[in-house]
Amino acid sequence: MSAEYTPSGKNAYADLVAKSWNSALPMTALWELTYACNHKCSFCYNCPERGRRELGKEQIIEGLRKIADLGCVFLVLSGGEPLTRPDFFDIAWAGKRLGFALRIYTNGYLVDEIVARKLRDLMPFEIEISFHGARPETFDRLTGVPGSFERVLQGIRNLRKHDLKVNMKCPITRWNQWELREIKALAESLGCHAEFDPVITPRDDGDTSPLALQADREFLDKLWSPEYVDITHEEVPVPRNDTLVQANCGTGRSTVALDPYGNIYPCVQWRRSAGLITEVQDLKALWNESPVLNEVRRIALEIPKTTLKTCESGEFCSFCPGVAEVQTGDPRNIYPQVKLTSEIRKQKHSDFLSIQSKPTS
């Protein structure tokens, strides 16, 4: 008999995630509690439905009970800006009492000393703050709110005073692309981890205007070169490894996503509603048997064998069927951004191999 705790955390965690993906055991629920937001980011993908009422506190808490029965361990409270809800802490505490580990995605704008103390009492696993630039002019231009840089920065300092774990998450745009190192240095000076994401997506209604802000080709060429290994943590782009998990991604498998109206989605990017949390009695049965979710899972399984096989740079694709559907009408279609990024990544991989194979004098 061995009752030892498993110290080889990384491998055990990778195995667990693979199990979650392959068996559709969702570990995370992400709930956009509101579309209300005090920032006006022009690249935001949210699309509030005019006049539609968002769920009330009691409806959300009842929904959380159903999600706890489904077996998720992480509860991500997102938005919009979740802290704009006056009942945010009631909802968060209900999640905590139901046994979830909380992750909070916020823009940090409302985190004054009082809110920071309330968050400390809540003891979330982590807080993720969108961070858009190392300079006020860049940051405020991207959020559309003058003074937001200083205020968000102070919010982060308030959280760090309580030793809360803060990740600063930076969507890379052509306006901040040359500030990444400054953002990283700023994050480190605050005791935070910085994460950079070059993916800008269309709005949920298919409007592609946010794509105009994507990082440009000149920058992306550098991003995946060894010059930016401190940002990407990748010496050279590596091809996909689809041996551990068979599906393209965790959609309909690892995460259940919900919007402020209670729609249940296979992930936050793929907005095919499987039902309303307020109407479903048995979420586990819905999760396992929904024709919508089963279709999504089937497509996600097909993609590595079809879409990515026929695409010349498919093995370097970080492909999102949700984006493909909203942008092209078909979740199996390659869309321009993924084509561009996979081509660059493949080229960088080839460049690296050719350097490696050159004989040394």
Partner: protein, 96 residues
Amino acid sequence: MMTNQAVPRKHPDAAARVYDEEAFIVLPHKGQYKILNKVGTRIWELMDGARSTSDIARTISNEYETTYDEALSDVEEFLGDLRTHGMLAGEPGKVA
């Protein structure tokens, strides 16, 4: 020092779910997560705030066909690991 009659309690901030007989335990106060094997998971489940170490060892002994003394020794060692990793109640909260 925990006696056999002490009642081990999970850390109140720990969030846990069992996936395929393995407990995944998130420790927000440490910024960490842990995964338990099947026997560890069973002990974790038995830590309901009412059972003593001795009660838990007795159940493990019955379920895994081992002697009570062996089970008690394993359970105590396991609880020591949990304590070391901040997974028991009474641990000072600290973010890693």
